[in-house]
């Protein structure tokens, strides 16, 4: 309880909406230059890494509500729980000191991506009939034609898309951490 309260300072509370706006802006930027990644959880990972798991989880959770309210990606709210877990994992990896070395940050991203894929697939399969209404449905179709069932095809699609996406996300956040001044990072740290 005390740890949760320590994470949510005024500085954290102003960081979270900025992080959510970064999710939206970077997600759209990546689409506009036709890079086949989402990068729409980069702000969430930033909060997790700078502040801690609780703040990261809250950012992910609310970010998906914001995606829904804007009407840009209304189905997002169904994955709010997964987004929260991504934020929490980012916080956990930083606490476990995985974000200091570049290759460790990539492994942290890969692990986060695998967990996200496993958790997202049942939602796509059982709530949305095995699709997400986005471009990755082409991958789902490919896996179905290879003989996988609904859940299996969604799992496989996630296993292809998510780990790479999260590895790149975590790596960029690692690079940004290197560029941020020490005194700035220290203001968020809980120790």
């Amino acid at each position: 309880m005390d740890r949760i309260r320590r994470e949510f300072t005024t500085l954290t509370l102003v960081l979270i909406p900025v992080a959510i706006a970064i999710n939206v802006a970077v997600g759209q930027l990546v689409q506009s230059v036709k890079i086949p990644l989402y990068l729409d959880s980069i702000g969430t990972v930033l909060v997790g890494v700078l502040v801690g798991p609780w703040a990261g989880a809250l950012t992910g959770f609310l970010a998906n509500f914001v995606w829904t309210i804007t009407g840009l990606f209304p189905q997002a709210v169904a994955w709010a729980g997964v987004a929260a877990i991504i934020g929490a994992l980012a916080g956990a990896f930083r606490t476990g000191d995985w974000m200091r070395v570049w290759w460790k940050s990539i492994i942290a991203g890969l692990i986060t991506g695998i967990i996200a894929a496993v958790l997202s697939a049942p939602i796509a399969a059982y709530v949305f009939g095995g699709v997400t209404g986005t471009g990755t449905d082409a991958l789902v179709a490919a896996f179905r034609s290879a003989g996988l069932d609904m859940l299996g095809a969604n799992m496989a699609q996630g296993a292809v898309s998510d780990p790479i996406d999260k590895a790149v996300t975590f790596f960029i956040i690692w690079a940004i951490l290197q560029a941020l001044p020490e005194h700035f990072k220290a203001r968020f740290s809980q120790e």
């Binding site: 802006a25 930033l46 809250l58 970010a63 914001v66 009407g71 095995g130 179905r144 034609s145 960029i172």
Partner: protein
């Protein structure tokens, strides 16, 4: 300030309802669509439930338009993927190794109809409810104020961040950053595009925090609000009614009465 939301201001009776009443109403549509599995019942729910409400809210055309935009990617994926890959024996069309099956099309129709009700109900709720009033109604029922701050601020600053991202893209291009080319090449430009956006916005956080503190953001205790929400006894009764309907629908599903 312009916010990227679905909200359309009108002076309709639907707009004037208390946000919690509209949440409860949306909840009924969500539960109904989740518990019904008959395609025709789901479509009827849309036609005799959501469409008249949209008409009452004077947002009929934008409602239809937003629904069409929301549903077609799902419909396309569902009919193609389930039509060809769902298990079934009634083959309608044979295309090389692929076969279009009747069972798959029914499955796709079923999911599309359900998503139409879900997305339609959520969209209608957002079209006829001002986000700040929605948040206020939740704060009055005990949601932390900070949550409302996060959601409303996000909605307000998103357009500015979209502009910033576009500005950075233009600036880097004018310095000679190639944004076309092979995939590896485009991946390498991610850092020069994303890092300035994140670093720039993170370093101005202090100003935001100070501006909030100067307005007693972290003060404890009760607050007054600029906006007032109109509520009535009849709406309160209506909300309880909606809750009962939701419970009845779930109960009917459990005992197997729903079509």
């Amino acid at each position: 300030m312009s916010t990227p939301t679905l909200y359309i201001p009108r002076s309709s009776g639907l707009h004037a309802l208390h946000p919690l009443t509209k949440i409860a109403m949306t909840g009924v549509f969500f539960v109904a669509a989740a518990t019904l599995s008959n395609v025709w019942w789901l479509l009827a729910l849309y036609a005799v439930g959501l469409l008249p409400l949209a008409f009452w809210g004077q947002v009929f055309r934008p409602f239809i338009k937003s629904n069409a935009l929301l549903i077609w990617p799902f419909a396309l994926s569902l009919f193609l993927i389930q039509g060809f890959f769902a298990r079934g024996t009634h083959v309608l069309l044979q295309l090389g190794p692929l076969s279009l099956k009747e069972e798959g099309l029914w499955l796709a129709a079923h999911f599309t109809a359900r998503l139409l009700v879900w997305l339609g109900a959520a969209a209608l709720m957002m079209i006829v409810t001002r986000p700040d009033k929605l948040m206020l109604s939740l704060i009055e029922r005990g949601m932390p104020r900070q949550i409302a701050y996060i959601i409303l601020t996000s909605l307000q600053i998103i357009p500015r961040f979209q502009d910033k991202a576009q500005g950075i893209l233009d600036a880097q291009r004018s310095r000679g950053l190639e944004t076309e080319g092979s995939l590896i090449h485009r991946m390498r430009m991610l850092v020069p595009l994303v890092a300035p956006l994140i670093l720039g916005s993170v370093l101005e956080l202090d100003e935001r925090a100070m501006a909030l503190e100067a307005r007693a953001f972290s003060r404890q205790g009760p607050r007054t609000s600029l906006t007032e929400l109109a509520d009535s006894k009849s709406q309160s009764v209506l909300r309880w009614g909606f809750l009962l309907v939701m419970l009845a629908l779930i109960a009917a599903r459990i005992v197997g009465l729903t079509p």
